[in-house]
Amino acid sequence: MNFLFNWMYYFASGGLILVGLYIVLVKTNLIKIIIGINFIETGVNILLISIGYIKGRTAPIFSTTDINPADVVDPIPQALVLTAIVIGVAVLALALSIVIRVYKHNKTLDVTKIKGLKW
């Protein structure tokens, strides 16, 4: 039980990544596939955060002067996650706008029916 508790965040991130991969591989609706990609990105973000997390410490925000640097978690992964979130939003917005175009041309979002290009 203790083992599970210590590694909880890693299991959560791995689980989210696998769920996302499953959605991308199995679902045929383009919107669902994009949601799957977002699952993967969220999972990776949680992985990054949990790598920098140290048990019992607080957020690295120096709003008051009485916070000791030894009491906060590693701030670098949090900066990385902020960047990764912004990138994720950009990819999501672009993906959805391309999906709108795909729908206009094909009148369907089912990837098994969109076969304009093939091997």
């Binding site: 990544i17 991308v24 590693d74 990385l80 960047t83 672009l94 999906v99 175009r101």
Partner: protein, 491 residues
């Protein structure tokens, strides 16, 4: 001394100033990328002799490595940056009259951002910064593939986006694991402490990174997006994607394997993957009717050859791989640009519709023929020298398995010759229909085509213009101790 961070900064600044310039006049916005990349090209030519004397390390934010984000401008970085700026410049000249469909302003912004991403990837010394630049490259190329907004373009773009963003996520997982192991993001710092972690853990991280970069580099079996994306994009974008974007994926793989992980044991596997990519690419290209799809599959094949030569991992092998990057970039950019304008004139991408066009568009057809001969590896073009050095390197390692590999690679070259000769024969010796009104291109379109043709011939006849730089670049990849020494100081 010129600051190398300008190489990233200038295209970035110009990209976002395009809307401001277009407030003055709508006509000047298409010349902005030309100006920006010409400045970039000049800076990189100025930097080459300085870098060959002593590599330049730029630390950003006033901290010293490994605590800051830094740019490492070694021979490899400056060589690839020069190549990217040069091809980018030529393609931007081509785009001045090729891109007519609105919104042209967005095209030029995205194009410059793509170049920013590619140059950033090859110059940065920080692994997360590498990821950010990689995403800049990827996102702008997704958008540019869909630029025409037609049925094929959007379909190809969504395929590329789905596979590419999974690849980026894999890279980020690899980076997260590396940060967990070492607590640092500086590539030299990670490299210097790589032996302190259990190799099994490192292998997981390396596998994520190679798969992620492999998707962008279109290494088999991760190449499904490439033929669609490269054939559906506007031709200028196909040229830049084939010439530059996939090479940055190869750079990523090479940097990870040689500099950071020092993973000598997987190199034979990498060479095998490259060989497989080469065979699959060339055999698929052979049966294509669509000329841009054919060129795209041929790009997969050539990437396979480059990765194969990297896998040889001796100084001549890496040298040959970098040489092949140069010759493929020049030839494939030329082929896409020339084919793009032929398609524009003929109105069809089918190979048979180009029949007899050699008499109507003599210069473009000649350029196309020279580009394809260079890819096949006929003397006196650049492709001959690069393929010769690959064969030489493979024979020199004196391992039977590489002799077998190079024999198969040469068979693939014969297949390549098969389809390229077929097109050139169509261009010159077949009677075409409805081509009487077609005239030769003029103006801005011809400048990049002529320059690229000239470069292919000059490098083929006088390879010593670039071999010095390429040898230094190969030494940078193989000599990881010197790389660590440059960044972290003399130890």
């Amino acid at each position: 001394m010129v600051n190398p961070s300008l190489l990233v900064g200038i295209p970035l600044a110009f990209a976002f100033s395009i809307p401001l310039f277009s407030l003055i006049s709508k006509k000047i916005e298409k010349y902005i990328p030309v100006v920006a990349l010409l400045i970039n090209l000049t800076i990189s030519f100025v930097l080459i002799p300085q870098v060959l004397k002593k590599p330049i390390i730029v630390s950003l934010g006033g901290w010293s490595p490994p605590f800051c984000i830094n740019l490492v401008v070694g021979p490899l970085g400056i060589f690839l940056a020069t190549l990217i700026s040069g091809i980018g410049f030529l393609v931007s000249v081509y785009a001045v009259s090729y891109i007519k469909k609105e919104p042209t302003q967005k095209y030029h912004i995205l194009f410059l951002l793509l170049i920013v991403g590619a140059i950033g990837i090859v110059l940065t010394g920080d692994i997360f910064n590498l990821f950010v630049f990689f995403e800049i490259l990827c996102i702008s190329s997704y958008a540019l593939v869909a630029y025409n907004k037609d049925k094929e373009g959007t379909e190809a773009a969504i395929k590329y986006l789905i596979q590419g963003s999974i690849g980026s996520s894999l890279i980020l997982i690899g980076i997260a694991l590396l940060y967990g192991f070492f607590g640092t993001l500086n590539m030299a710092d990670i490299a210097s402490r790589i032996t302190s972690v259990e190799p099994t853990y490192l292998f997981i991280s390396l596998a994520f990174l190679i798969t992620g970069f492999g998707i962008e580099a279109a290494v088999f079996p991760l190449n499904a997006w490439l033929p669609d994306a490269h054939s559906s994009a506007p031709s200028s974008i196909s040229a830049i994607l084939s010439g530059i974007a996939i090479k940055t994926g190869v750079y990523g793989i090479a940097r990870m394997i040689f500099t950071i992980f020092n993973a000598g044991s997987i190199l034979t596997f990498i060479a095998f993957l490259g060989l497989l990519t080469l065979l699959i690419g060339e055999m698929s290209a052979f049966r294509q009717d669509d000329i841009k799809r054919l060129l795209a599959y041929s790009s997969i094949g050539q990437i396979g050859l480059i990765v194969f030569a990297l896998g040889i991992a001796t100084p001549p092998g890496v040298f040959a791989s970098l040489f092949q990057i140069v010759s493929h970039t020049l030839a494939k950019a030329l082929l896409f640009l020339a084919a793009g304008y032929m398609i524009y004139k003929v109105g069809s991408k089918n190979i048979t519709s180009l029949n007899g066009i050699g008499k109507r568009m003599p210069l473009t057809s000649l350029a196309f023929a020279i580009g394809s001969f260079s890819l096949i590896g006929l003397p006196p073009f650049a492709g001959f020298m690069s393929k010769l050095s690959i064969v030489y390197a493979a024979i020199q390692v004196k391992k039977p398995i590489f002799l077998a590999f190079i024999a198969i690679a040469l068979i693939a070259t014969v297949i390549e010759a098969g389809y390229f000769f077929k097109i050139v024969q169509n261009l010159y010796f077949k009677k075409g229909e409805n081509i009487d009104k077609i005239t030769e291109t003029s103006g801005f379109i011809l400048i990049p085509i002529i320059i690229l043709t000239g470069a292919i011939i000059i490098i083929g006849v006088h390879p010593q213009f670039i071999t010095g730089l390429l040898k230094e670049a190969a030494n940078e990849l193989l000599g990881r101790a010197t790389y660590i020494g440059w960044v972290l100081g003399g130890t």
